[in-house]
């Protein structure tokens, strides 16, 4: 009986610790979200969406940074999506067991979690140094390099879920393989691939490190992709570490915008993926 009491005590202790771990972990994560909501909402004004980033001590907004982030993200995803889907297609459909496919899968997974600052350094050396100045194009390239492995990986996973019977049925009808891919397989995996693209957008939206020395920042509203362009993450970083209250306030507002955008993208991605599985 004594041994049992000891075991029960140890069990209760460890389970108590595990519950404590969950409470502490969730507490910190919630604390971050609540602070963000509290400080962020206080900072959001209509002006944030109409004015550009101000000099210290003046009123201003974040429209140039919001615009820059959107433009660079769109450019990155537009280029990375087809490449990522095609690469994923090769790895899921064509390479089956070939060593090249295994190597490419492995390397893609490494790139997926490689430090983004390294990507920034890479783009700096190939796109910033040769042209002699920072530019929104190089920022978009860095973001594209981060989006590419995400799209590649989800495409592989999603094509793997398409039943082989579909490929066989198409082949039995005499359909060439490329046509099967485009008209049957991609269509079957459509929502899964879309999920991957949405997750990739969510991933690059908050990336800061690779933009620090590619797109840099710009105090003004700019359309010119060959010049430095403001973007939300870098503005948040610079404004938050500045000593000015109004800059810090804008940083919190920007942080809230980014987080809300990312959470919405994630929820939509889940919803799209879920809609598929219920069909």
């Amino acid at each position: 009986m004594n041994a049992y009491a000891g075991r029960r005590f140890r069990n209760n202790l460890m389970m108590g610790l595990s519950i404590l771990a969950s409470v502490v972990g969730l507490f910190f994560l919630l604390a971050i979200l609540i602070t963000l909501l509290y400080k962020g909402f206080a900072a959001i004004t209509p002006q944030m969406f109409t004015a550009s980033t101000p000099p210290p001590g003046q009123d201003g907004g974040l429209i140039n940074a919001i615009f820059g982030s959107v433009v660079m993200t769109v450019a990155a995803v537009v280029v990375a999506t087809p490449i990522g889907i095609l690469a994923g297609t090769y790895l899921a459909e064509y390479s089956r067991g070939h060593w090249l496919g295994e190597v490419a899968k492995f390397i893609n997974d490494i790139l997926l979690s490689a430090p983004s600052i390294i990507i920034g350094l890479f783009v700096y050396t190939i796109l910033v140094v040769p042209f002699g100045h920072f530019s929104a194009w190089s920022g978009a390239a860095a973001l594209g390099l981060i989006a590419l492995p995400v799209i590649n990986r989800t495409t592989q996973d999603m094509l793997g879920l398409v039943p082989n019977a579909l490929r066989e049925a198409a082949a039995a009808l005499g359909t060439p393989r490329w046509k099967t891919m485009l008209t049957v397989i991609y269509r079957a995996a459509r929502s899964g691939i879309l999920t991957g693209v949405l997750l990739a957008i969510a991933r690059v939206t908050g990336e800061t490190a690779p933009l620090l020395f590619t797109a840099l920042n710009n105090q003004f509203f700019s359309w010119d992709m060959s010049q430095p362009m403001a973007n939300l993450p870098v503005v948040i970083f610079q404004f938050a570490t500045s000593p000015y209250d109004d800059w810090q306030r804008l940083a919190w507002g920007g942080a809230l915008l980014i987080t809300v955008a990312i959470l919405i993208l994630n929820v939509v991605a889940r919803w799209v993926a879920g809609a598929r599985s219920s069909l």
């Binding site: 140890r10 069990n11 389970m15 610790l17 595990s18 519950i19 771990a21 969950s22 972990g25 969730l26 994560l29 604390a31 971050i32 979200l33 602070t35 963000l36 400080k39 490449i83 990522g84 095609l86 690469a87 297609t89 090769y90 459909e93 064509y94 090249l100 496919g101 490419a104 492995f106 390397i107 490494i110 790139l111 979690s113 490689a114 430090p115 983004s116 600052i117 350094l121 890479f122 050396t125 190939i126 060439p176 393989r177 490329w178 891919m181 908050g206 800061t208 490190a209 620090l212 020395f213 840099l216 948040i236 970083f237 938050a240 570490t241 810090q248 942080a255 980014i258 987080t259 929820v267």
Partner: protein, 323 residues
């Protein structure tokens, strides 16, 4: 005669069509192959560009670059030891805090949590994994650092700091920012990653095995310790390594709270720097080729470390999936 000619025409058309289809198939195959190879080429290109960029610094300082702790831009003397030290120490702190807490959450989610709550909490944790690191940094800078400076750090200095030997780790004034704060922020950041992988790995344990153990009269803790964790050992190490890879390379969360000081101090309460924080803070301001090149050399070191860690993690996780 006319009929055979038509038939001949038809078969010629069919043959041409088939030839076309073969060509198109080959073209599509090559196109996808090119895109897949592009990914491999990109990684090689990253490596080559880092080596080329780091070359001047490596040539100037040689292997001593790794062991030197000087960081003197005006004199163009650079050493990688303080950033490497900071990177490793912050990651160790993050893992020491993050691993038990993530395992605790995963055990809670798989063994204890009421089924109704399992999905919402699981989804919440996965959503939190998507929050960008700059948000964690911002919070650490404005809330965690001042909080630690006022409460935890003085307490540590006055208690553990008095113990001879161990006290060295907790000496000095309470700065707020520094190795410990950066480690804690990293721990909070990797928490969702490690938790969601751990939970996935735990769920690979066959129900039969788990139920047999409960049937033998084991307690929940005994099942976790003697059945679930041994069964999933390899995958758990893989998940932890994946979290470690994130922590080592994390830039923004650390840059806010590390203090950017190129001095190696025994106290974990003191400001320090990490590889990624050094690059983020100094790259755009770096003047002179050797300065820039030294920063790229730091990037190369980080790349090699994280590549090794991620490769091991990946290998271990694949190993579990096969089992």
């Amino acid at each position: 005669m006319a009929a055979t000619a038509v038939a001949g025409d038809a078969s010629a058309i069919a043959r041409a069509k088939a030839r076309n289809a073969v060509l198109q198939d080959r073209a599509f195959h090559l196109l996808t192959l090119a895109c897949a190879v592009l990914v491999v080429v990109l990684l090689l290109a990253v490596m080559v560009s880092l080596i080329v960029g780091a070359w001047p610094a490596l040539q100037t300082f040689g292997i001593g670059f790794l062991g030197s702790s000087s960081w003197n831009p005006p004199k163009e003397l650079f050493g990688a030891l303080p950033p490497i030290y900071g990177t490793i120490v912050t990651s160790i702190i993050a893992m020491v805090i993050g691993i038990p807490v993530s395992f605790g959450i995963a055990i809670f989610l798989t063994e204890l949590c009421p089924t109704v709550l399992r999905r919402p909490i699981g989804i919440a944790i996965e959503l939190l994994a998507g929050i960008p690191s700059i948000i964690y940094g911002l919070w650490g800078f404005f809330f965690l650092a001042p909080f630690l400076q006022k409460t935890i750090q003085p307490a540590l200095i006055n208690s553990l700091g008095k113990i001879p030997g161990l006290g060295l780790l907790f000496g000095g004034p309470a700065y707020g920012i520094g190795l410990l704060t950066a480690g804690i922020i990293l721990a909070i950041m990797v928490l969702p990653f490690i938790t969601s992988i751990t939970r996935d790995v735990f769920s690979t344990v066959p129900t039969l095995l788990r139920e047999s153990a409960y049937g033998m009269g084991m307690t929940t803790w005994e099942v976790s310790r003697s059945i679930v964790i041994p069964y999933t050992r390899v995958g758990l190490v893989g998940g932890v390594m994946l979290g470690l890879g994130r922590a080592l390379g994390e830039t923004m969360a650390v840059t806010f709270v590390i203090g950017n000081s190129h001095k190696i101090v025994a106290s974990i309460l003191a400001p320090a720097t990490t590889i990624s924080a050094t690059i983020a803070n100094e790259f755009t301001e770096a003047t002179g080729d050797i300065y820039t090149s030294s920063l790229i050399a730091l990037g190369l070191i980080l790349f090699i470390i994280t590549f090794a860690v991620l490769a091991v993690a990946k290998w271990l996780l694949v190993h579990t999936a096969v089992k």
